[in-house]
Symmetry: C2
Subunit: 232 residues, 2 copies
Amino acid sequence: MIRMAEPTLAEHIANELRRDILRGKLAPGESIKERDNAAEMGVSRTPMREAIRILAKEGLIQLRPSRSPIVARPNFKNVEDHAQVLIALEKLSAELAVKNASDEDISHIAGIVDHMSEHFDTSDPLDMFEIDMSFHTAIADASKNKALAETHRTFLQRLWRARYLAASQRRNRQRVVNEHTLILNALRGRDAKAARAAIDNHLWHLAEDIREVIEKESAANNSAGTPTGDPQ
Amino acid sequence: MIRMAEPTLAEHIANELRRDILRGKLAPGESIKERDNAAEMGVSRTPMREAIRILAKEGLIQLRPSRSPIVARPNFKNVEDHAQVLIALEKLSAELAVKNASDEDISHIAGIVDHMSEHFDTSDPLDMFEIDMSFHTAIADASKNKALAETHRTFLQRLWRARYLAASQRRNRQRVVNEHTLILNALRGRDAKAARAAIDNHLWHLAEDIREVIEKESAANNSAGTPTGDPQ
DNA sequence: GTCTGAAATTTGGTATACCAAAACAGGTTG
DNA sequence: CAACCTGTTTTGGTATACCAAATTTCAGAC
């Protein structure tokens, strides 16, 4: 038996697959064969099946009846739907964080903004992006609402690749840091209205970036037929 | 192999357990022994394990390391957290439904309100409650945002028992129908502001009812020690 | 070259066995 | 009486086998 804190084999596999998907090593549309992948990793079908289930719940893998599951190909509507919900969750996070965040929480969030400013030019884009994510996650945690933090995390994860692609393309880090600073200031000032407005502004830009990148990918997919190849 | 539309054995088991939990047949704190329950139902551990996983994800069952899972005992904070998120999701639902609902959608929602009015006194409380739930679900569906509808459904499910208990105790059906009608009128008028206000009002009452019932259950649990008995 | 039917392959789901770790219970000792 | 130790029981996780259904492939006929 394994302790709760120690991840199971299935969780390990899920993490590895998730990383491959989010980094693009496993492309949208690519099939994930339960038996083949299990053999490749030297594990049995049971944890592999469990891992695939975990990622299917997260929206990263799409189960198909009687066919191998495939890496989900986020369409525009799907991404937009998730972005809309994420914005509502982030607003609620900010609102509750204004009320409930401790001074330590706010210091922690400020530390993330500082870190982003300081390492603006020297960091790998992926590292910077992870820090960006941690900013948003810290606010959700500071809301002191676990159900919200968990659901927020789920949506962040589902939108991870779209957001990552958007962040990679635009190189608008200064704007991101500026907008994060606005949010932080609203939290510090315990100003719910300002926090919501700053979140709205920040995520409106995000939605724009995501829309562009998804349109690009759709165009690329259409002109190339099926660049990732049909599954199977 | 089973078709997608046809539920698996695991899904059947999950549905049965869910029903037992939500109806109180399986009380909060009661343990669910994988092997025993599987034997009782004449199935193997695999679908039972899968079913427990499903319900754990829904928050109805609480997994414990090296111990039998137990029926989740919702504490006050937990329920309140979920209610807060649900309110945000419902507001977003109403807002998007105002924009995106088809006339058919609105007719469907109106039909539910009519049905509730007509069968106000003659229906079993549980039936009336299910119809109440379908009202909210129909709005989420009318938002045309699948991610929102799915997450909304998840939160509705997690709060089901608390809401059901609240609904059973208060017998405030007339008020519920009135508030539903306000929401429906706001949807019909395509008035997002009115819809949000009506949702706020409706769910504020809900939160009040839930708070009362959870407090009652907490008091009952404290005075009786562990009325449901320790698991194992 | 196309179509159809049969065979082969792939697949998800389930049953069962095994293992190691954690928890529990009972007895002994101080 | 409390603490500790040991043996037993319970438990979750994983490996493997099997089955039935769906899909794919191949061969033969037209």
